[in-house]
Symmetry: C2
């Protein structure tokens, strides 16, 4: 079973966020640093570190009740996000808003211990609670500098959307409202069934054609069967034009993991217009892949040959790839060790497949094994109930002033808030939208749902600010 480890699943979206679509390098900002406390909740040390944030005050009218638009940095370099969250930039002028993009501790330049930040004894300070208080203290300073209780609207996508929602719920005095896009705050034990994530990925393929997902489901065993022999390995290496020929069962496992990542990435980046995601992709990329997998009775080498045509959409849309490098399905410049650590401590997101409701093989969620692996890697024990106890799990009916938006095509919609939690904590499902498309800059090819949603956000933000 080629199921990728859950921590990688989640990590993928970083790449998605900053790589899909056009880079709007016209956005102008200053780089500032905030002296953040290393530890907000104990008093063992007075240490601080420099938290980076990017700011544009050119639209701002601090003499009025103008808001602070605060992008809640997630697990990556903030300079990537600043260029890829065009919605904030588009609406800041009309709101006379101060634009702030704050970087998450232990990512980008915001390394509390420099290049030793990921050392044992240091990385323990990487947690959602600490990161949120970095932001709360920064907001307090921004307000304090002008001695004014400016409205603060948070924007966040994916993990950043989770943080945005949790910040409004936990620190409502500091946060006026939050747009939490594609935020799977319920992808935790006892909140969502572990097979939901892969079911949604599968549905993106089966809605093109059930034959497509059926063929992918069959392909796992077919790959195993064919690569049992050296001749088979050789055939597949050659037919798929692999950069590194298959020589061992480990190679085969790596190839399966690669495919797993490819399908997930396609699901998230299933945008209606061509984008530049890792490898460039056409619009509706899942459809483009499935085009090669529509035949009902594909089997054996014929199936794998067809699959290669599909996968080529992902790795060779331009036609310029020399070979298929199955070592990685996405670029690795983002320091995924940060997220892997978070997944091993508090971000425990169960993943499983049953081979029936999804296009994968059977794989159960084995927390014990997961925990042992984490302990071996980092000396930490993941706590499956921590996030629930901290942030309330599914009992969040007291939440107010939050938009939970979910792309209908986005795998992470599996585990977000899909129903209103209160009058002002509202859920929105965006038809024909993938992973937090709504936070990106406008594009002529945007689906109607996203166009309308952005209009609605403007109205809601205006209401929040006027309160």
């Amino acid at each position: 079973m080629m199921q990728q480890p859950p921590l990688l699943c989640f990590y993928v979206y970083i790449v998605c966020l900053f790589s899909v679509g056009h880079i709007h390098s016209q956005y102008v900002f200053k780089t500032e640093y905030f002296e953040a406390k290393l530890d907000h909740f104990t008093f063992l040390s007075n240490a601080t570190f420099k938290l980076r944030y990017l700011v544009n005050d050119s639209y701002w009218s601090p003499d009025t009740n103008a808001p602070i638009f605060f992008y809640v940095g997630n697990e990556g370099d903030i300079t990537l996000f600043v260029q890829n969250t065009g919605f904030i930039w588009e609406i800041a002028p009309e709101f006379n808003a101060l634009v702030v993009f704050a970087e998450h501790r232990f990512y980008g330049e915001s390394m509390p211990f420099g290049n030793k930040s990921y050392d044992k004894g240091n990385i323990g300070y990487l947690s959602s609670s600490q990161a949120m208080m970095d932001y709360i203290d920064l907001i307090a300073e921004l307000r304090h500098n002008h001695n004014k209780q400016f409205p603060v609207v948070l924007f966040g996508g994916s993990y950043g959307g989770m943080l945005a929602a949790w910040m409004r719920m936990t620190y409502p005095a500091s946060v006026t409202g939050a747009i939490a896009s594609s935020a799977p705050i319920w992808q935790f034990p006892e909140m969502t069934h572990c097979n939901s994530y892969y079911r949604v990925i599968t549905s993106a393929f089966s809605r093109v054609s059930p034959n497509c997902s059926d063929n992918i489901r069959k392909s796992w065993k077919t790959i195993d069967d064919i690569t049992k022999t050296d001749e088979g390995k050789s055939w597949l290496s050659s037919t798929w034009n692999l950069c590194e020929p298959l020589q061992s069962s480990e190679n085969v496992t790596t190839l399966r993991d690669y495919l797993d990542n490819v399908y997930a990435n396609l699901g998230m980046a299933n945008y209606p217009y061509p984008t530049d995601f890792l490898a460039p992709l056409p619009g509706h990329p899942v459809k483009a892949v499935c085009k090669h997998l529509l035949e009902k009775d594909l089997e054996g080498k014929k199936l794998l040959s067809a699959l290669f045509q599909g996968v080529s959409v992902y790795f060779n849309y331009t036609g310029n790839a020399k070979c298929l490098n199955y070592a990685s399905a996405y670029q690795s410049s983002l320091g995924d060790s940060g997220w892997n650590y978070q997944a091993c401590t508090e971000m425990v997101m169960p993943i499983c497949t049953d081979g029936k409701h999804d296009m994968y093989e059977v794989s159960e969620w084995n927390f014990t094994e997961y925990a042992e692996d984490c302990y071996e890697k980092y000396g930490v024990k993941p706590d499956p109930s921590h996030v629930r106890n901290l942030y309330g799990g599914k009992h969040i009916s007291t939440a107010t002033n939050i938009i939970f938006s979910n792309g209908e095509l986005d795998p992470w919609s599996c585990c977000g808030v899909l129903h209103n939690m209160s009058d002002t904590a509202q859920a929105i499902v965006l038809a024909d939208a993938a992973h937090h498309l709504d936070l990106r800059a406008s594009n002529p090819a945007d689906p109607e749902s996203v166009v309308e949603a952005r209009k609605y956000y403007r109205t809601v933000i205006q209401q929040w600010i006027s309160q």
Copy 2:
């Protein structure tokens, strides 16, 4: 100026809580221990410690929607509080409630590092945030043991009331509602004027007679003047029957501090019936003290002689005291070093006097000096904005399901919530009531305000539970 240091001011109420009134030793409970995480917000260590809690399940019907009544332990040994919060015990049977009294970390038996808990490097884990998460995790376990989302009603007085209110605001999924009695959540910088606390103490005396507070105001300088000479020291030592004769200016300072504490303790324990507070007190003790200070033109030795009659009400109501021990105005068995540390980190509560609106001499709030003193003692820097950033300061209009009750006579009413914050976050001012009288067992001499308040709490709790 004999103003006591702020940290001691606050500490006083512990004593008040467990010492005033009758001890209802009929309350029966089991002692249990919960394996609490040492650090809820970083992952540097997997260490845990035993948090003590006391529990009575004899009234409980876990098969129904019966609530958990959870006493939020404050800065003292929990066994003292369990016997002195009679209101919970009185209403538990009618609600079929589980009664839980949880001990605050670093107090009583809940010492994470045993007798080394207060050592540098250990005591840093003493914080409100950590204590609250201990309670949240304990609540989660109590619910999880029965696999049921029982309603949880918090009860807390003074600092415990602050924690109760903050817990409902921060963790609403874990907490259904909170009775926060005499909780000065606004006794922090930029929230309440630093002279409020002493103004309220003064008003308790001046409402008996302005001459009473005027005489006390005059007495500080009179003490200084008379004790300038050895003859004067000797006269005062003899007239006041001091256990330790005044021999130095340090002794005089200690005596002044003692008086400062006495007035504060009288203000808090200004109950309408005789109570057993440190030294036993009559009902309406402030009135009893002022009886000796009603004359308008008291001066010099005549003033101090009269003052001694007043102070005798505090230290010698029984007539059995051999001499006045001015070394301490309250028993010292409670480990005030815990609270002193908290006051030096996050519980920064400004105190000042102006000698006009209060019966003290002029003393300004000097944060720099305060911070230096803390740094010298503990190597920590108090953060005046920490509590505001964590818990929202005065911007808590999103709070729900909280009763903020304040005794009109209680000095700490200076800095509590006196107006409704929302439809269900309500403020109550209890006429003729001192420090969290409402949480104590019923007494025939209770003022009508408290009798009515307790009835109202029953109704409100029922509403919370039914939601």
